[in-house]
Symmetry: C2
Subunit: 480 residues, 2 copies
């Protein structure tokens, strides 16, 4: 493909994406294909000779689209949103064009430096304590990770290294660490994301899930008791992953209680606010982040709810030396004259290579402004409350938990099995798509506001579908 | 930004990227900025109100470009190449537009299924043994990772879990694993990439660097002796990361020797061919991969040398259950009706979320065809040999090692310090950019063919610069 064809075909793709996103309501949010559908549609080996772009382009609708789950559809209400916005897509074109690999400052200074400044911007938008910002002049600062899973893992591993150093002065994974490793205990709430449990598996430390209160919150006394019990058993508590806005039900751990416990006990508190974090740019939601000053690290995903396309997970730490020291290996070919003056982000993450992701964060923040992003959050929370009202007004249903952000957890009054049937019937109907969840044995349905253009009509439509399917289901059950 | 502005501004960015890449020779490959340059150029906090796109766009040349290291410049010869091609950029526009998160089959079937088929295509292009392919109907298959670092880590952790299971039937990181963990030993060559050492640190296992022969290859006897010595000391050898095409000097471990040792000793052999792997699509280079049948896992980066923009690191395994079992956590909200029929790739990687990266691999393979990609590899290898001839013809210089791929290692005859001065002088001159390396105490310069449009004139230009700078340097030294 020469440059003139790129100009032509690149612009065609811009139009294709524009048409796709503007007309996304015409597509069923969840596809009807069965496993293996795609292998039948394309050859089983690569072409020897180049194919024409017309053939490649035509296969998007023929091969790909029939199997796509349309995450930006206003009828898609599963999981949590993944952000999609035009300024972010344009920024990614630029990032791809530049195509630098930003593992050290020298590997592309702009890539590191824009990230440093824009993570400070974002930290200020969240009103993070200055200790988390580069501009404070201390050891704190922010970095873009790929996912919240990686942020949790990076901080858990850093805490692990800190404790290995503390307990046997090695910390480099050599075999004298085995005895300490086997005593390390990390905590999270019983509602924490699966990636937290997985970080424990990868880090080869015990991860204990602690019970939550009736609102789904991990409380300070629960944590304190667990620590005391484990200390008494000769174990070494070292890390807490607190969650603000769980995936299961958007519950909030009580960091104002857990934070002081961690501080007193010398434990690393990490806060995972993957979904809800974006809302903290609004003053009315910011109190939910109170207690962040006790955290060694804080993470949320602008790629979920702040109009920045995946991947862009923002992590801040109070002491970056604890992150970078954990994995620092320093070969000659990566050394450069300016080491130490700016962060070499390769030390802050699991992979070595990194794309120029701060561009999309920068473009999005500037294109919408803080006010535009706040409006977007408020719109989604309002839509969730609108849906909540529809549920509450129907006495067949009940709300599970509390609607705080853009997620509504709800269920048919009564046993789990009828709700399981409802979930299946709604998704089989296919006009909308949702996923279930379960907390302390109670099964319920989750409706998340996902699509970037979701409006009140879409919410009414979702309720219409659920209501119709429910009526049919209850009628069928009654006839049995 | 509304859709009409996106159409306009997206197309402008396509043109900007086209102009940037076509005229990249006009830019100094390595920037002249000093650390902290960017903070002076933009505000220290985010704007309250939206900014105009004209202002945002203008800042690309004002703020970003002065600090960019131009990896696609034909005058950039540092590290290894990072791929950049027009079809891949267009595929990324589509991937961003679709914006799905492909953690399970159900989260977007097309995202998983295209990856399954295209990794089979690519495996066949490399003539991998059928056991590595999904189409063989066994447990093998391929997956796209972000980086080779992650591929190494994933395979090391999987091998670790396998050995923990074998030795104490737990393997879930609980404290009874400590005793086994502390005995596990992994190996790599002394020339292995820093990310291999780092994988050992993260996995909290001992990583031993083994000596190489005069060609930089890890040999079977060296490995065999290390295993026997460690076994005698009560340790548990479990993993070898062999490298084909090291970053230090593009050396090749002898996998035909090491493979049978690993097979006999029951050790997981992983092959990291991050850079050189792309060349194995050419029959004349494929013999370098002989012995891959002994490997449990094999990885290379199409994002380095196969025209697929970062990130796209291809990993194949012979037994995917060993990968997916290592980190399998399975919450209700991620369950779906079709589990087990197709891979849920979230079990194959460190992060949970994943972009639709197989699109760019698919577009690139089809747009160039196997023949076009082979031509591209051959062109770069020829350019390296052209440069080698220039070095050899100048009796001030010597080649270090052997030129096999698109990397030439060379040095001024004589002590290291004059080569260190030469490296600095070449980069201070600024017309080209290179990085140094060192093997067994010998310091040398590396010239990698990086830019996608590098041609023979560029190679002659690079040599002209080096030759001029050398003459000046030697003259200055003589005058002292």
């Amino acid at each position: 493909m020469d440059v003139e064809e790129f100009r032509k075909r690149g612009k065609e793709m811009v139009d294709y994406v524009a048409d796709y996103l503007e007309n996304i309501r015409e597509r069923r949010p969840f596809p009807t294909v069965t496993p293996g559908y795609l292998r039948e549609l394309i050859p089983d080996s690569a072409p020897e000779d180049p194919e024409s772009w017309d053939d490649i382009f035509a296969d998007i609708e023929r091969v790909i689209m029939p199997g796509v789950t349309h995450w930006d559809s206003p009828q898609f209400h599963s999981f949590f949103p993944t952000a999609n916005s035009y300024p972010a897509i344009i920024a990614d074109i630029l990032s791809d064009g530049i195509g630098n690999i930003g593992f050290t400052w020298a590997s592309s200074p702009a890539c590191t430096e824009l990230e440093v400044v824009v993570l400070d911007w974002l930290g200020k938008m969240l009103d993070l304590p200055p200790a988390f910002l580069f501009s404070s002049g201390g050891k704190g600062g922010g970095v873009i990770q790929g996912t919240a899973s990686e942020a949790t893992l990076v901080t858990l591993l850093s805490a692990r290294t800190q404790f290995l150093h503390k307990h046997n002065k090695s910390g480099d994974g050599h075999h004298d660490d085995g005895a300490v490793m086997s005593k390390l205990v990390a905590y999270c709430s019983a509602q924490a994301h699966s990636s937290v449990e997985r970080a424990g598996l990868i880090g080869a430390v015990t991860m204990k899930k602690l019970e939550t209160d009736e609102k789904g919150a991990l409380r300070g006394t629960t944590l304190q008791q667990a620590i005391e019990k484990d200390r008494a058993a000769g174990l070494i508590p070292f890390y807490l992953c607190a969650t603000l806005g769980t995936t299961l039900s958007c519950a909030f751990d009580n960091v104002l209680e857990c934070g002081p416990v961690c501080e007193k006990e010398g434990i690393w508190m990490h806060i995972d606010a993957a979904y809800a974090g974006s809302a903290f740019i609004c003053p009315e939601f910011r109190p939910l982040l109170n207690g962040v000053k006790y955290a060694m690290s804080f993470n949320f995903n602008p790629h979920k709810w702040m109009k920045v396309n995946f991947d862009c997970s923002a992590l801040w730490v109070q002491d970056s030396s604890l992150i970078s020291d954990a994995f620092n290996v320093d070969p000659l070919y990566l050394k450069h004259e300016n080491q130490g003056k700016m962060p070499d982000y390769r030390h802050w993450q699991i992979p070595l290579g990194r794309r120029f992701r701060s561009l999309k964060l920068w473009f999005v923040i500037r294109a919408y402004g803080l006010k535009g992003l706040q409006e977007y959050i408020r719109k989604d929370v309002q839509l969730a409350h609108d849906f909540e009202k529809l549920v509450v007004a129907d006495d067949r249903f009940e709300i599970f938990g509390e609607v705080v952000m853009g997620l509504v957890c709800f269920r048919l009054k009564g046993p789990n099995d009828v709700n399981e049937k409802l979930l299946k019937a709604v998704n089989d109907d296919g006009r909308i798509n949702i996923v279930p969840s379960s907390v302390k044995g109670t099964y319920f349905l989750r409706l998340a506001i996902c699509g970037s253009k979701t409006n009140n009509n879409d919410i009414n439509f979702a309720w219409k579908v659920i209501s119709e399917v429910t009526s049919k289901l209850l009628q069928e059950n009654a006839c049995k």
